[in-house]
Symmetry: C2
Subunit: 301 residues, 2 copies
């Protein structure tokens, strides 16, 4: 998905929010914005938004001299989510449809996204409460369940720190035998890296690998050869979050995207209302597009 013109104001707004999250003073925040704006002018606007965001956050990291500026926020959200984990696991266990409830929590956790929200806008208790009754596309959830049951080698592309704790019941439902969790190779915004997965208790129970990249999404051109091989070999990929959707939504692969639609451009692309809990798979989307292009004929027999 290429960058929309609406993303450009959003990048500048996001830079200011990053500056404030990092407690920069006004002069330093203004200088950072100027430098990011100059960078935006040099970048290729045809790339997916996370690829532009990668370069913007490289600049932020260089300019602030901090290779992991969101580390305190990542630790805080992980700890807060871990406190809720026993309750989440109990609710999933006791639910009439445990799989569906686990999917709900995995999507709810995607609200912990400092690429789309500010720290003040993220209320993990509220996320926990709203998750239990959020509407979901039953057909898509059933398709996902059937695909997981049929798959032997699932790649689970994690998104943010803290969010990965909310992913745990779904990972437990799938089981450690057939799923590999993927984290980013280097810190970018609050995306989960290996250390965040470890703090969340994922590493001791699941195989976790790095994608080798610092893009807040999964841009295969940026990823390590090992990851690209694992991606190609997987018979099902579950991709969490908007960034993975933006970088992989055109991929010809058996992919399910799970995310909360926090951005109007993505919501429109996915054909859902803002704030929706989204379960979308590439194959049924491609079938849908085929049907739009070549509508079925009502042939009288």
């Amino acid at each position: 998905m290429k960058t929309n013109l609406d993303c450009i104001p959003c990048f500048t707004r996001h830079t200011l929010e990053a500056a404030r999250t990092l407690n920069l003073n006004d002069a330093d925040a203004a200088q950072l914005m100027i430098d990011v704006i100059k960078l935006i002018l040099r970048l290729d606007w045809q790339q997916p938004p996370p690829v532009m965001a990668r370069d913007i956050h490289r600049l932020i990291k260089t300019q602030t001299g901090n290779s992991d500026p969101y580390a305190p926020h990542k630790q805080h959200t992980t700890q807060t989510a871990l406190k809720l984990l026993p309750d989440i696991q109990r609710i999933v266990r006791e639910a009439k449809q445990p799989f569906k409830m686990a999917v709900r929590f995995a999507i709810a956790g995607n609200a912990i996204d400092l690429g789309a929200k500010t720290m003040n806008q993220i209320d993990i208790s509220a996320i926990f409460k709203s998750a239990q009754h959020a509407p979901l596309d039953d057909t898509a959830v059933n398709r996902l369940e059937a695909q997981i049951n049929a798959a032997r080698n699932i790649l689970f592309l994690a998104d943010n720190a803290g969010e990965v704790v909310f992913d745990l019941p779904l990972l437990e439902w799938i089981g450690p035998q057939k799923v590999t969790v993927v984290v980013r190779g280097e810190p970018v915004i609050n995306d989960a890296v290996m250390e965040d997965a470890r703090r969340a208790g994922i590493c001791e129970r699941f195989k976790v690998i790095s994608n080798g990249a610092d893009t807040p999404g999964t841009w295969l051109a940026d990823c390590s050869p090992e990851f690209v091989r694992a991606f190609s070999a997987a018979d099902l990929v579950i991709a969490k979050g908007q960034g993975n959707y933006e970088t992989l939504n055109d991929a010809a692969h058996n992919l399910f995207f799970l995310f909360m639609a926090k951005c109007p451009v993505i919501a429109e692309d996915a054909g859902v209302p803002l704030q929706s809990y989204v379960v979308i798979d590439t194959l049924s989307r491609q079938n849908q597009k085929m049907n739009e292009t070549y509508p079925r004929q009502n042939v009288s027999r």
Copy 2:
């Protein structure tokens, strides 16, 4: 009020909305955004936002080869508001407190602001309905009423086309003998110029003058000497809209601002919640600041 860092993303967002309002194709919209971003880098960020907006809209007008790009929207909102005018006038006439109701409608009309909203976000019927019960600061309204009664020479700084129709009951309450209405000298966004006042039926009943400038506010350095003389000579200035607040809120003059707080930066500066109907006067604000600086002593006697 100088430009806040939050205004910078907003200028880029606003440029994109302008491009869409003007039906530019994606390539032209992207080029306009690039040119505006380059301009923003050259501008002095210490100026009030409307002074930066003046330069941005000069560029938009030059680039689109259209000196009044919002003309169709201005005519549309004026016509729509004129259809509601008899109802507005009747409601004000029949209200228990006609002055307060006239102030309410004048502020409600300030929602017709393409500097703060997109055309799709402006619903004039909804504005009309919500106006009648909007909460107002009674003390400030009473101060305004007393000041109007005491004044002999009132300058009324109008804001947007369409909005000026909503101003009519307040202007009628003041009466044509002691009020002069001021419009912008040249088109900028949907701000009212002489032609818009004429279409609204203001010119045939009130003295209307131009401020000689193309700033979406009242930046005295930009205005004609005739207007600056009229401004200095007025014993009361009523200034409509956010742009006038941003450019005049530090002026040492007997000024009342009437606007709807549509922007978080302005709402914070004025100390009100977003979407509030705001009546603020400079003199009581200055007294308040004096009291904050030199708090009254509780002297025991």
